[in-house]
């Protein structure tokens, strides 16, 4: 039997696709790198099927590239061909446990689907900035996309999970690790272990190179009973830093983010043709948005003490700015919590594609005080490569009470314009090099250009990763060619 016949034996004829035209949707996303075809796409319905595919891949030394919801913001690049393991049919919500505030979900479940289900229970998962409606919740969290909620205590959102090791064994982690789970006194609320290694950490940011998650317990939280949202305008990001530190150190608000006027206009413009330019011109160069939330008991009283503290900080730390309950040019801030706590609407063009049709993100972590240096440097590099520095979108996400910052530059481009794509590709590559010199920490090195540049600078870490990968994936079947493997 050839590989296809063996795969058909595992999942049936209909769930093995090898027609190139039909495989394109499984890999295509926005990427400056050229697409590569897998040998086939195999859709699995559960962990047992997925494990059988991985074991077969080990026998035949065939790459396996896991794909969760089937939507890929950045394209799937099967660098060495192989099998795309499609889990988009695995959408089960096994259990909504309101008492312990968690939900057990499969990797094909999307933000849109989970959000609508949880709304009925008045619960939510704290989300990053506009996950796509059809992107996988589990993948988003595994990839450590930063939450808008900056509070440390609401982090570590993935609890115990089920996974498949690169050698094909099904394994459960944390307090779900009992063979007979969910029977027994462990209900999967603790993520770590079992034992002295932590599969969760190894899976995080691994882009499918260290194993496959087949379900995970994920933290859910109560939807706040009340909210009050403020927008604080600033001329420069530099002026915003002390405000962010002061607000975060006082633990004021839940969601907090900083956007330049280009990105905020892309998000809030009702219509790009008629409204975008007006809005961009009206918005302040930088907006710091913060949502104060009121929980179940006396919600308004909680908001009141936080608002009072916010005004004291404004008077003492950033008297030159204002604390507004409107977004200039847009209107009241009261609609923002609903907008920011939802995935981007499925029917609308994704916010990063609204301006030119596509976007290349440059993302990394740093400390708040270094952000202005990066802004200046990346804008300079963009300009040197013929990319208008004022056409870069910038989004800064304070993380864990602003003890670090997620920095995101959005290079917008027309995917049909080859010259513009080339300019952006050059600017992007040189920006990575410049950022690395300034000690940017690339926790999510997407694509070959980024991963090659980043791993080259981390020789001992990279050596350690390779040794770990060899120990756990001796045949290097899990997404080879991605990262440094």
């Amino acid at each position: 039997m050839n590989l296809k016949e063996k795969l058909v034996k595992i999942v049936g004829t209909k769930r093995v696709i090898d027609d190139p035209a039909k495989m394109v949707p499984f890999i295509k996303g926005e990427s400056l790198e050229p697409l590569k075809m897998p040998n086939c796409v195999v859709s699995v319905k559960d962990a047992k099927e997925a494990a059988k595919v991985v074991k077969l891949a080990n026998k035949s030394i065939t790459p396996v590239i896991p794909s969760s919801s089937g939507t890929h913001a950045r394209s799937i690049i099967p660098a060495q061909g192989g099998i795309i393991l499609d889990m988009s049919k695995m959408k089960t919500i096994h259990d909504i446990d309101k008492r312990n505030r968690k939900v057990r979900i499969e990797p094909g479940l999307t933000w849109g689907e989970l959000n609508s289900k949880l709304k009925r229970h008045k619960m939510m998962v704290y989300n990053p900035l506009f996950p796509r409606s059809d992107s996988s919740v589990i993948t988003t969290l595994l990839e450590r996309e930063p939450r808008l909620n900056t509070r440390f205590e609401y982090g570590e959102q993935i609890l115990a999970l089920e996974m498949i090791w690169p050698t094909g064994e099904i394994f459960k982690t944390g307090t779900a690790s009992f063979k007979k789970y969910p029977k027994g006194l462990g209900s999967g609320d603790y993520p770590y272990g079992p034992g002295p290694i932590d599969p969760l950490r190894l899976l995080q940011g691994a882009q499918g190179t260290m194993g496959i998650v087949t379900w995970a317990n994920v933290k859910i939280e109560h939807k706040p009973k009340a909210d009050k949202t403020f927008c604080m305008p600033f001329k420069k990001f530099d002026d915003m830093i002390e405000a962010i530190f002061a607000i975060q150190r006082k633990r004021i608000g839940f969601e907090c983010l900083a956007l330049d006027n280009l990105n905020l206009a892309c998000i809030l413009a009702k219509d790009m043709a008629d409204d975008f330019e007006r809005l961009r011109k009206t918005l302040p160069p930088w907006s710091l948005i913060i949502i104060l939330t009121g929980p179940q008991y006396f919600p308004e009283e909680k908001i009141a003490y936080e608002e009072e503290a916010l005004h004291i900080i404004r008077n003492t730390v950033f008297p030159g700015s204002k604390v507004l309950d409107i977004v200039p040019g847009f209107g009241s801030t009261h609609v923002l919590p609903d907008i920011l706590r939802s995935p981007w609407p499925k029917k609308e063009v994704y916010w990063k594609s609204r301006l030119k049709g596509a976007c290349q993100d440059l993302i990394f972590m740093t400390i708040m005080d270094k952000v202005p240096e990066f802004i200046a440097e990346v804008k300079k590099v963009a300009g040197n490569n013929g990319v208008d520095p004022d056409a870069l979108g910038i989004y800064i996400q304070p993380v864990d009470f602003a003890s670090s910052a997620h920095v995101e530059f959005n290079f917008f481009y027309n995917p049909e314009d080859a010259k513009e794509k080339a300019k952006v590709a050059n600017a992007y590559k040189e920006s990575i090099e410049a950022a690395l010199k300034l000690e940017a920490h690339f926790t999510r090195p997407y694509g070959k250009v980024t991963s090659d540049l980043v791993y080259e600078r981390a020789s001992s870490y990279t050596g350690m990763l390779k040794k770990t990968k060899a120990a756990l994936d001796p045949n290097n079947v899990m997404n080879p060619g991605a990262l440094c493997f």
């Binding site: 446990d97 307090t175 007979k180 609320d189 950490r201 000690e439 600078r457």
Partner: protein, 532 residues
């Protein structure tokens, strides 16, 4: 045997003053009868062959390279809290890390970098000066910050500050062959502000549910996240064992309640977590109250041993909860949270009790020494972090098992363990505490060992719970197939890859307890009888 030649080579790295093989000195590092009574220490404990005290990461690396080249087993130690931090193999090189005393607080980015010789009392004292804090673990403020982050790291404060492994940022790690690797943001930079890896997070190799207890190299420097708190002073009062900190009461307060029933107590805790208030909450075992009120061991026993029937009633029918509220943002936050707490208390008919606004254990100092005070030996047989309801049920199961082993375990009148809320109420926590007399008869110590190494772990397998101390005190052969499954086999792949000659703290906890049971007839027999 560590040869004279190797000794000289080690001496050339650390200097003459910082190495010894003098018997008197080695006796000071003994793992035999040194105060922690356990089968592991009794069966495997030894004196080391040589002790070295390197001064920094580079020296540690050089020392380990020498050991690795010459196939010498070595055991790292910082503050000596467990038997694993002592020699458990022949010709062991003891690497004492107490000279690594870096302590730098980066207040702006809310972290601190510590060396292996730094203990929590030092870290917390520095952090509080900057309006920041960490969680001093149940093990006490005298324990090392790095090993505690790597091995467990739990306290009532983890309700809001999370398990210690979540707070690990950049670090320097000497691999078992002596190579230095830097994790997190130190992989490509000089600022240790972040722990996440470039892609996969290699912190997953050094700390899972628990850590390796020195069996996968040595972390010499670690940056740990600190969390913001108010900037008010905690005034120290009294000295020695009577010392405590007085809370700034307008920003931080205890609240004690007596609940009418166990179910009321559980619902009270869950409601507070759902209300998203509080800095910590825990049940107060009755024995702790006697301990707190006693002036000596004798005084404790005078009180605790009286009227057993009344004690049993008191222990099993009294439900005391202790909450800590902190006004992180302002005084008004404390007022708000107090109002919410009182409303929830009224709903559950919990009675508010008076309490002194002082602390001797949670914020900075640690009172864990008193846990040994009662009988001279103490050990937790299990700890479970999971749904609070599961913690309660596991406590009930262990109380039944413990009754079969009491005596020699200390009579605690049916106490069902210490439990509390964790991770903003996403999980609860149970720790089941045990005391015994380490000078008891051989027969009684065997019975106690069977409880710890066989019967307790088998109970965990029976009820489907696998957690922390069980992984350290019970042999892998009991629970390895049941959890994961075969969790130990995957850990061993990592051990084999990075320490193929098993030199880092031999035999290492993957194997040590199986070795103990194989060589201990009473345990071997009990295992054959009890384990399925």
């Amino acid at each position: 045997m560590i040869s004279e030649e190797i000794y000289k080579e080690l001496e050339s790295i650390v200097g003459e003053k910082w190495i010894s093989n003098e018997p008197e000195m080695l006796q000071g590092y003994t793992n035999i009868d040194r105060g922690w009574d356990s089968a592991e220490a009794r069966m495997l404990g030894q004196n080391p062959a040589v002790v070295v005290l390197p001064a920094n990461t580079e020296e540690v690396s050089e020392v380990i390279k020498v050991a690795s080249r010459n196939n010498i087993g070595y055991t790292p130690v910082s503050t000596y809290f467990t038997p694993s931090a002592g020699a458990t193999s022949d010709d062991c090189l003891q690497v004492d890390l107490k000279r690594l005393t870096t302590l730098e607080v980066d207040a702006r980015n809310q972290n601190a970098t510590v060396g292996s010789g730094i203990v929590y009392a030092q870290l917390q004292a520095e952090a509080l000066k900057h309006g920041l804090y960490t969680a001093v673990p149940g093990g006490g403020s005298q324990v090392g910050v790095i090993p505690n982050h790597l091995c467990w790291g739990f306290s009532p404060l983890t309700y809001r500050v999370g398990m210690a492994n979540r707070r690990i940022l950049g670090l320097e790690w000497i691999l078992p062959d002596g190579e230095i690797v830097r994790l997190g943001s130190l992989a490509t930079g000089s600022n240790p502000f972040m722990g996440e890896g470039i892609g996969p997070d290699l912190r997953g190799l050094i700390r899972g549910s628990i850590g390796w207890n020195g069996s996968l190299g040595i972390v010499t420097k670690m940056t740990t996240k600190l969390l913001p708190i108010h900037n008010q002073k905690f005034n120290p009062l009294r000295i020695m064992k009577y010392s405590f900190l007085h809370f700034p009461e307008h920003r931080q307060r205890w609240y004690n309640f007596t609940c009418p029933s166990k179910s009321a107590m559980v619902e009270f805790m869950l409601d507070v977590a759902h209300a998203e208030i509080g800095a910590a909450m825990t049940r107060v075992p009755i024995a702790w109250r006697y301990l707190a009120k006693s002036t000596s061991k004798e005084d404790y026993w005078d009180k605790w041993a009286q009227d057993p029937d009344q004690k049993r009633k008191e222990v099993t029918e009294t439900y005391i909860l202790r909450f800590l509220l902190i006004g992180y943002t302002s005084e008004k936050q404390l007022e708000y949270e107090e109002k919410v707490l009182m409303k929830i208390a009224a709903k559950h008919k919990a009675e508010h009790r008076r309490t002194r606004q002082v602390d001797g254990s949670w914020m900075q100092s640690g009172d864990s020494v008193t846990m040994w005070w009662l009988t001279g030996a103490f050990m937790t047989v299990t700890g479970l972090i999971d749904a609070l309801d599961n913690c309660i049920k596991l406590g009930e199961e262990f109380a039944k098992l413990k009754a079969q082993y009491t005596p020699p375990l200390m009579e605690d009148y049916g106490d069902e363990g210490w439990y509390q809320m964790n991770d903003m109420g996403h999980s609860g926590y149970l720790e089941f505490l045990n005391d015994w007399d380490p000078l008891d008869s051989k027969q009684n110590l065997e019975k106690k060992d069977i409880y710890f190494q066989v019967a307790g772990p088998q109970l965990l397998v029976d009820v489907g719970v696998h957690h922390f101390f069980a992984q350290i005190v019970s042999p892998l052969s009991i629970d390895n197939p049941e959890f994961g499954p075969y969790y130990g086999d995957f850990a061993r792949k990592i051990k084999d890859a990075f320490d193929p000659n098993y030199l880092s703290n031999p035999p290492g906890f993957l194997d040590s307890l199986d070795e103990v049971i194989d060589g201990y007839p009473a345990l071997k027999k009990a295992k054959a009888k009890i384990c399925k």
